[in-house]
């Protein structure tokens, strides 16, 4: 997958081994007439996903006193272990937690998840112990 960005928050790559924020340099879209954007390539194994989102997610303000940003770190932790979810489930999880976090007002939120097809688990799996 090839990615370019124009001042967007770093996409999160969700792998079985963890979540990596992907910093991509680039000038703000619409900021300058001759903007330049860098490109990066990521490889996604089966089930792994790349989560793209607008700053309405990370800049949602909430928490105990209502003034803490949702932030990239909270998003990264939210996505841990999500490589087992289908793409719509990952996108919904981000939207759900960011809107639940925001106590005052709402910025627009857009979330796009690109995922390599999920592997299918073998039949008759062992139930995880409670």
């Amino acid at each position: 997958m090839r990615l370019a960005a124009g001042g967007h928050p770093p996409p999160m790559v969700v792998r079985g081994s963890g979540v990596e924020p992907l910093e991509i340099p680039g000038m703000l879209v619409g900021g300058v007439a001759r903007a330049r954007f860098a490109a990066r390539t990521v490889d996604l194994a089966a089930g792994e996903a790349c989560v793209l989102y607008t700053d309405g997610v990370t800049e949602a303000r909430g928490g105990v006193d209502g003034d803490a940003e949702f932030g990239e770190e909270r998003l990264r932790r939210l996505l841990e272990g999500c490589h087992v979810l289908p793409a719509p489930g990952i996108a919904e999880r981000v939207a759900q937690h960011a809107t639940a976090w925001a106590v005052t007002g709402r910025d627009d939120i857009a979330v796009l998840v690109v995922q390599a097809p999920l592997p299918v688990a073998p039949a008759h799996p062992q139930e995880p112990s409670a």
Partner: protein, 349 residues
């Protein structure tokens, strides 16, 4: 599968073998397998609404019952696959949509969309034109949609009663557009008793009942007057003091979630979110119970939490501490005291 009789007539549950194979596919997040089984039922002559109501719906209830054994991600994955099955079954059958226009969506904050999705498809199959707005519809979006499109009915779904106080304003605003409001889902209480408190035009327990009701001559074509209620001074007081109550409870818990594992345990129990969100949820359930003047609402939620904690061998002391703090802070709130008392009883020793 030789015992699988293909008869027409009264709807019936899918054969156990089919139901098990379908549930197994959901368990493994096997989308192609699950869609294949459901579409196979259609090919074998089972009506689409029966596949939705007797295969997809029951499988989702079964997913819901696995909360003690599954991770949140696993439950979410199974639900996602089931939603895609519902969509795949829906698009296989064309209908003319001449009965009228239904707008359906989940109330603000409500993310359990599958029951509403099933109901939307079943209504569509029954000849209605259905616009499905999805999970957690912001009230302003819903109202502007109603004003713009003037549907015959707006159907709202709610799985958790915690959303009811804010839902009340949405319902009243929808009724002011002249659109009658049909409510569904367990969030409106056993037998829909809280739906009645909120003044909706009708409540149904499920999709099949929604079809029957909208076809009945008794269905109002115009919205009723609704019901004004604001939960009184106690509810306003609770809302106003929410942040302060959450802070006080967190202070007692040393900043930990009431659902957290005891000190020294490792690995995470998969239950707790942000500590202030877990405390806030208890305060919000209390607020909903006060708004509806129904102590059972709070008692049932605490009882559910107690069962959840017991299933994971976790102590109930964190939840108990939150109840203590709330009881102390809200000593001059008689309805809240009644609810907290019921919660304490539901939590057990």
């Amino acid at each position: 599968m030789s015992t699988d009789r293909m008869t027409t007539g009264a709807p019936r549950a899918a054969a156990p073998s089919v139901a098990d194979a379908f549930f197994d596919a959901l368990t493994r997040a096997d989308e192609q397998g699950a869609v294949g089984i459901a579409l196979g039922r259609l090919d074998a002559g089972t009506p689409a609404q029966d596949v939705l109501l007797h295969l997809v719906g029951p499988a989702q209830e079964r997913v819901g019952r696995h909360w003690a054994a599954w991770t949140v991600a696993q439950e979410h994955a199974a639900t996602c696959i089931n939603e895609r099955v519902a969509a795949a079954v829906g698009v296989r059958t064309r209908t003319d949509g001449q009965r009228g226009h239904v707008v359906m969506g989940c109330l603000d904050g409500e993310w359990h969309a599958l029951p509403a999705r099933i109901a939307a498809e079943v209504l569509r199959l029954a000849g209605w034109r259905v616009t499905f707005l999805g999970a957690s519809v912001p009230p302003a979006h819903l109202i502007s949609y109603l004003n713009e499109h003037g549907p015959d009915v707006v159907a709202v779904s709610c799985a958790l009663p915690i959303h009811l106080p804010s839902a009340h304003r949405t319902i009243a605003a929808a009724q002011r557009t002249g659109t009658p409001v049909l409510a569904g889902g367990p969030g409106f209480g056993p037998d829909g008793r809280w739906a009645a408190t909120l003044g909706v035009d009708a409540w149904v327990p499920g999709a099949a009942e929604a079809v029957a009701l909208l076809e009945s001559p008794g269905w109002p074509r115009q919205a009723g007057p609704g019901r004004a209620a604001d939960g009184g001074a106690e509810y306003a007081g609770l809302r106003g003091r929410r942040a302060e109550l959450v802070r006080a409870a967190l202070h007692r818990l040393g900043g930990a979630s009431p659902l957290a594992e005891p000190e020294g345990a490792s690995g995470g129990n998969g239950l707790e979110g942000q500590p202030h969100e877990d405390v806030g949820r208890l305060v919000d359930f209390l607020a909903a119970a006060v708004y509806l003047d129904d102590a059972d609402l709070f008692g049932e939620h605490v009882g559910w939490l107690a069962a959840l904690l017991a299933a994971r061998d976790l102590p109930r002391t964190g939840v108990g501490a939150v109840l203590d703090v709330l009881a102390g802070e809200l000593h001059d709130f008689p309805t809240a005291q009644r609810c907290l008392h019921r919660g304490r009883a539901a939590l057990g020793a």
